[in-house]
């Protein structure tokens, strides 16, 4: 670079950077005033929040729902005894504290108010009895009624179990369970203190009183194990945590916000106004334009960053001159990096609004990084100190707490600067591309860019693939959402009703041991197995399936852009045209489904796979039988609607018919494959059945018939022939069926039911051949032969 060019480079950088600090600076379009007002409000709220940490300027607790009492369930004699013994200490403390509610009479206490697990002596114990240890519904009710923050549950015979253990130490420790309010972090820490001090004190007391040995050994297992608090000498844990979490986060937000409002305006704003062309035509190199803007954004962002940081450095607790330099270095490096990001986004975009929108993900990602930093602040890995952004966050937090890792400071600064430099270089290169420099009318620019990319460029293809991929992903999640949401709603009341039964406490306690995915699945199936015999569950599921159908229709109305619900039903393969035809199709479907399942059973019987042991329905199973019968109708209809009536036309909007049938069938198979006893053959069979149903849908043009087939298939399978339905066992069947001793799982499908076996494969294949022949014969559908 010649001397003259170097001079003009420096002058260009200076002029552009200085432009940021002139009155009416920023040579670009500006964000509206409302943005400014919002940021002022944002800062004010933050300031008040920060203030409340140091000075209790507002007696929050007088207006909060703060509670101190404790519910004790199945309290053993020894615990009641201990409570009485401790009462005199609580009374003393309450007397010392003074008034609990009067701010004026007692402001000294109010100003330094801290939550305490026994509320400075105010805690009362409420004794209750309940044999079910996991009945959190009742416990929650008791806590609300009695204004308690904690429930302590003892098992029945606690004292006896502890006494027994003194004789034989190999006996299991009895459990003490704790339930607590989670609506405030205070309750969590109060609960922890209660366990650490009060419950452990109780166990020591019990030992002393009984004259047992091992006075410091806990005699029962407290399910809510106490966590270790790292003990700093002379450090205040609250202020320490604040320095590691809130203060760096605040500084990050300030820098990000300032850099965004300053940085995204510049080049994008100049392009929007059309003033950028003028700057490009001056004899200033592009690198100087970038450098000048980078310098301007950085300097202007550093002003608020410093304004927000300095007050914290003045606080005596954080005052530590040696670490000031580290904090300032971190600030400068971080600001440079974020400024380079905003600059790149500004170069890429044509308008201020689009640049700000594009910056939003960066903003959120960096905030997410901060949040992960806060979450891991005590047990972070050392290498985080060397990473960009992480290094700054932890570095600022550490420096506030008087620690500076010089190696971390150096490495993270260098790596961040390097990253920022690369980003800046990219921005500079982009400025040589006329796509990012010419300020044509944005609409025209977009059109040209679209036209420029042509039809077969990689970008275009990638666009299409991601678009289709997203569509498929979304549509894959839809059945999951529908089935999951409504089944969950139906299951909740049932689960709660079981929670309240003492006899299931053991089962629920066993859940603690569940660790692997297989175990989770097995437990789930076990639970579902219990529920399938519960009339409440079956009735609720019936309602849930109807709700699913309604939800799917409402969704379809929007998706298929139908004006009326009649049109929507028609679009989903449920036309209400001729009632007589619907009835005919439905009855035909019921018969076909029954015939198919019957032939499966005949095959199984003839090959000697199953034994039918006569009539299996008892009188007291009748209610379950009839409710179960009722459930299969909406069940079949909802699955047909979701996987056929909705999914096939939905995919047809974008893809060929063959793909729609294939994909919906795969989805159908995948959703059922999650059930118990799943075998690879089961997914093949379910796929074949789905294809068969889809072909029938294409043949008849409606899903009335397949709804009926689906219902008849499941109904006859479970409640007539007494076999498993896709891994779920029906509890009341007409015929009492069992696998014979020499049954082959390959043919019968084992615990998944016949749908996992070869018999179903055979029947489905035969039916499919018949339907395909019918399809080919019908002239109407010959043009759809690719389906």
């Amino acid at each position: 670079m010649s001397k003259k060019n170097r001079q003009s480079w420096i002058r260009g950088v200076k002029t552009i950077a200085a432009g940021f600090f002139k009155k009416h600076g920023q040579m670009g379009a500006q964000a509206p005033v409302s943005t400014f007002l919002i940021s002022v409000g944002f800062v004010a709220v933050l300031a008040f929040t920060v203030l409340s940490w140091f000075w209790w300027w507002f007696p929050y607790h007088l207006f909060s729902d703060e509670v101190y009492d404790i519910v004790v369930v199945n309290a053993p004699e020894s615990f009641i005894d201990y409570n009485q013994y401790m009462q005199k200490f609580r009374d003393k403390r309450a007397a010392e504290y003074g008034s609990r509610t009067s701010w004026f009479a007692n402001w000294g206490h109010m100003a330094y108010f801290k939550y305490h697990y026994d509320g400075y002596g105010w805690t009362r114990f409420i004794y209750k009895e309940n044999p079910a240890l996991y009945d959190f519904v009742t416990f929650g009710k008791w806590m609300r009624e009695n204004k308690a923050y904690l429930t302590v549950v003892f098992p029945e015979g606690f004292d006896e179990a502890v006494s027994a253990r003194t004789k034989d130490h190999n006996l299991p420790k009895p459990d003490i369970l704790t339930y607590y309010r989670t609506n405030s972090l205070e309750y969590t820490s109060m609960k922890q203190e209660f366990i650490d001090e009060y419950l452990h004190g109780y166990q020591d007391y019990m030992r002393n009183k009984n004259g047992w040995a091992f006075a410091n050994v806990v005699d029962s297992r407290i399910i809510d194990d106490a966590m270790d608090f790292s003990d700093f000498e002379n450090r205040n844990p609250v202020l320490d945590n604040l320095g590691r979490s809130f203060i760096p986060l605040l500084i990050f937000i300030v820098i990000l916000y300032a850099a965004m409002s300053i940085g995204t305006n510049i080049i994008a704003g100049q392009k929007e106004l059309g003033t950028f062309t003028g700057i490009l035509l001056t004899p200033i190199p592009r690198s100087a334009i970038i450098a000048g803007n980078q310098l301007g954004v950085t300097l202007k962002t550093l002003i608020p960053a410093f304004i927000f940081t300095v007050p914290f450095l003045i606080i005596p607790y954080y005052r530590n001159q040696a670490n000031f330099a580290a904090i300032f270095l971190h600030l400068i490096v971080l600001t440079l990096f974020i400024a380079s990001l905003t600059l790149l986004i500004s170069v890429i975009n044509d308008t201020v609004v689009s640049a700000q929108t594009a910056f939003l993900p960066v903003f959120l990602i960096l905030i997410a990084v901060c949040v992960t930093c806060i979450q891991n602040s005590t047990e972070r890995e050392a290498f985080y100190l060397y990473l960009p952004v992480y290094g700054q966050f932890y570095g600022i937090g550490d420096a506030l707490n008087g620690i500076t890792d010089h190696m971390g400071l150096l490495v993270s600064s260098v790596s961040t600067l390097l990253l920022g430099f690369i980003v800046t270089l990219i921005s500079e290169r982009l400025l040589h591309n006329e796509r990012y420099t010419i300020s044509i009318d944005p609409v025209t620019a977009k059109e040209i860019r679209q036209a420029r990319s042509g039809k077969h460029t990689a970008l275009n293809v990638a666009d299409k693939i991601t678009d289709n991929g997203f569509f498929i992903f979304k549509e894959m999640l839809y059945p999951l959402y529908l089935l999951g949401f409504f089944q969950l709603i139906a299951i909740i009341p049932v689960v709660i009703s079981y929670m309240r039964r003492a006899e299931y406490s053991g089962f629920i306690a066993d859940l603690k041991g569940v660790a692997t995915v297989t175990e989770v699945m097995n437990k789930t199936f076990e639970v579902l197995g219990i529920f399938m015999g519960n009339p409440l569950f079956l009735a609720l599921m019936t309602v849930a399936y109807f709700l699913m159908i309604a939800a799917c229709i409402i969704h379809s109305k929007r998706v298929f852009r139908k004006k009326s619900f009649a049109d929507t039903f028609k679009a989903c393969g449920l036309p209400f045209g001729k009632p007589s035809k619907i009835v005919k199709d439905y009855i035909l479907g019921l018969l076909a489904g029954f015939a198919m399942m019957s032939s499966v059973c005949i095959i199984l019987k003839l090959t000697g796979q199953i034994d039918m042991n006569g009539f299996g329905l008892s009188a007291n199973a009748l209610p379950v039988f009839f409710i179960n019968l009722m459930m299969w109708f909406p069940q079949g209809a909802s699955e047909e609607l979701i996987f056929r009536g909705y999914m096939i036309p939905r995919f047809e909007q974008r893809f060929k018919k063959a793909f729609c049938v294939f994909f919906s069938s795969v989805m159908f198979s995948v959703f059922h494959s999650l059930n118990a006893g799943y075998t690879p053959l089961a997914s093949v069979n379910l796929f074949l059945i789905a294809v068969l149903f889809a072909l029938i849908f294409l043949k008849t043009g409606n899903i009335w018939m397949t709804c009926a087939m689906h219902t008849a298939w499941n109904l006859s399978q479970g409640n007539i022939f007494g076999l498993q339905v896709s891994g779920n066992e029906a509890h009341a069947a007409v015929i009492n069926t069992s696998y014979s001793a020499d049954a082959n799982n390959l043919i019968t499908g084992g615990t998944f039911g016949p749908e996992g076996g070869l018999a179903v494969t055979a029947v489905t294949t035969v039916c499919m051949v018949i339907v395909i022949i019918l399809l080919c014969k019908s002239r109407d559908l010959s043009r759809n032969k690719n389906a």
Binding site: K14, Q26, G28, G274, T277, T282, P283, E434, I448, A451
Partner: protein, 245 residues
Amino acid sequence: MIKVKDIHKSYTKETETIKGVSFEISKGKIFGLLGPNGAGKTTLMQIIATLMKPTSGTIEIAGLDPAKDLLEIHRLIGFLTTEIKLDPVSTPDRLFDFFANLYDIPKGEIKARKEKAFDRFGITPFAGRRISELSTGMKQKISIAISLLHEPPIIIFDEPTNGLDILTSRQVTDYLKELRQEGRCIVLSTHIFSVAEELCDEVAILVDGMIVAQGSVEELIKMSGEKDFEDAFFKIYVENHKEER
């Protein structure tokens, strides 16, 4: 001063906006590019101003190649666009200083040049006002003053009188004549015949990205055999424009 040789420019693979344009412009002349909307005038002007690179072909400005001596060329050219583009929250005064600094004008000289330019166009009373408060004509005059503050020998002017009232456009055309007298080389694009007729020493008629006729206004009228320039233009246009399928 400007040599353009066989310039092609295409935004898409299928269509070419500029299909092989060549011309030369010498000192002290006004060269006009005349053509209907969409003929490629603005694209061609932006290529000459080095804002865009041609797909193929070469440009030489005062003997310099834009690919090598871009910044040197920027000192020699002044570019004005159709739309008035000034920072609305700034003032003429501050904008002039800003650009003077970017053009590396010596500090002592900036004030003298500013006074001269602002007096010439009557901007001085408005020098401290916000741009957004000023009239369209005033904005165009400020734009001209700032674009030419480095006194470039080559001036590229895209649609100089577009959207201006008669008074202001008269001021602009007078100023262009003055600049020609000073020996500057001026390229302007327009779709207004009177401007071309009044100002241009040489006119090139651009139709669908190609120069279909070139010469002085009189030559073009003679060539077409029509009475006046407007009729001549229409005849040339109809002969050369292919209807799009």
